[in-house]
Symmetry: C2
Subunit: 183 residues, 2 copies
Amino acid sequence: MTDDLANGSISPDFRLDIPEGDDRTRRICNNCNFIDYVNPRIVAGSVVTRDDKILLCRRAIEPRKGFWTLPAGFMEENETVEDAARREAQEEACADIRISQLLAVYSVPRISQVQVMFRASLASDIAAGPESLEVGLFAWKDIPWSELAFPTVIWALTHYSGTRHLRGFPPFTNPPGTESLTR
Amino acid sequence: MTDDLANGSISPDFRLDIPEGDDRTRRICNNCNFIDYVNPRIVAGSVVTRDDKILLCRRAIEPRKGFWTLPAGFMEENETVEDAARREAQEEACADIRISQLLAVYSVPRISQVQVMFRASLASDIAAGPESLEVGLFAWKDIPWSELAFPTVIWALTHYSGTRHLRGFPPFTNPPGTESLTR
């Protein structure tokens, strides 16, 4: 290894190949033979409410910058799913939340994501974090449906709405007939 | 890039650093500056039953080779969680299964895993796949409790048992008081 290498004069250069003992094609770096095992990633998030109003965040980052979303994001190492959902609410809306139950487990195989969504209550004030342009609490009738960032946000809001007065319900998965959005 | 490089004469050589625009330390290769983003991985599996007997597989691979487990394994790209659970039952026990409902979502932050476990019924014969030494259908009283591979296998069997006659129950998470096993 030289300083030139450490300074970034070369970049990863991946070929597709099946590693020994494996049965799937993986990306292998031609420079250093690193095998880039990729597994689906978990997005953890919440439908957070106070007084029947729902917390939404307007995205300050791509994809879907400027559109509204639920506080949610990629799990980091050494977290529980619940830890990750609480951290994302804190990061995106400076919100302390209290998770009450699992709302849904959605799969988006096209982009290899699993989204684990909870129901939670708001236990603090809110303010836009660095990844949000603004945050707000919306009554159901005021939700900006045409400006929501992702189909799973619509699903989670809808599934929340149908079970808002229930405790201990089985969680939802992808709605039937939505394969064209996820496959 | 030379043939020597492609033939594996150098290996990945990672430093720990915070990439620009990030707020966490990541592994970055000194050879090619590849950033190895790591996120928790999802294990998808099932408690599969026929006539009140439960499908178990004796592991042919490490970790916990020789111990009994539920059919479960790492999700691959472009699957749903349910796809992955079905594939693992097929790979480990040559079993076609019919998933009925979500049983549990366990987090094991120490090893950055989230385990999504379903309840399913067996719809085929079974046989040991390449990762299993043997497979079997066990009545509750015959389960080899002292030879189970992982705590989450015990949890899933216990949670299954408590809800075997229920439909539409809320899924379980880690049992209380088990943090020393997962943190």
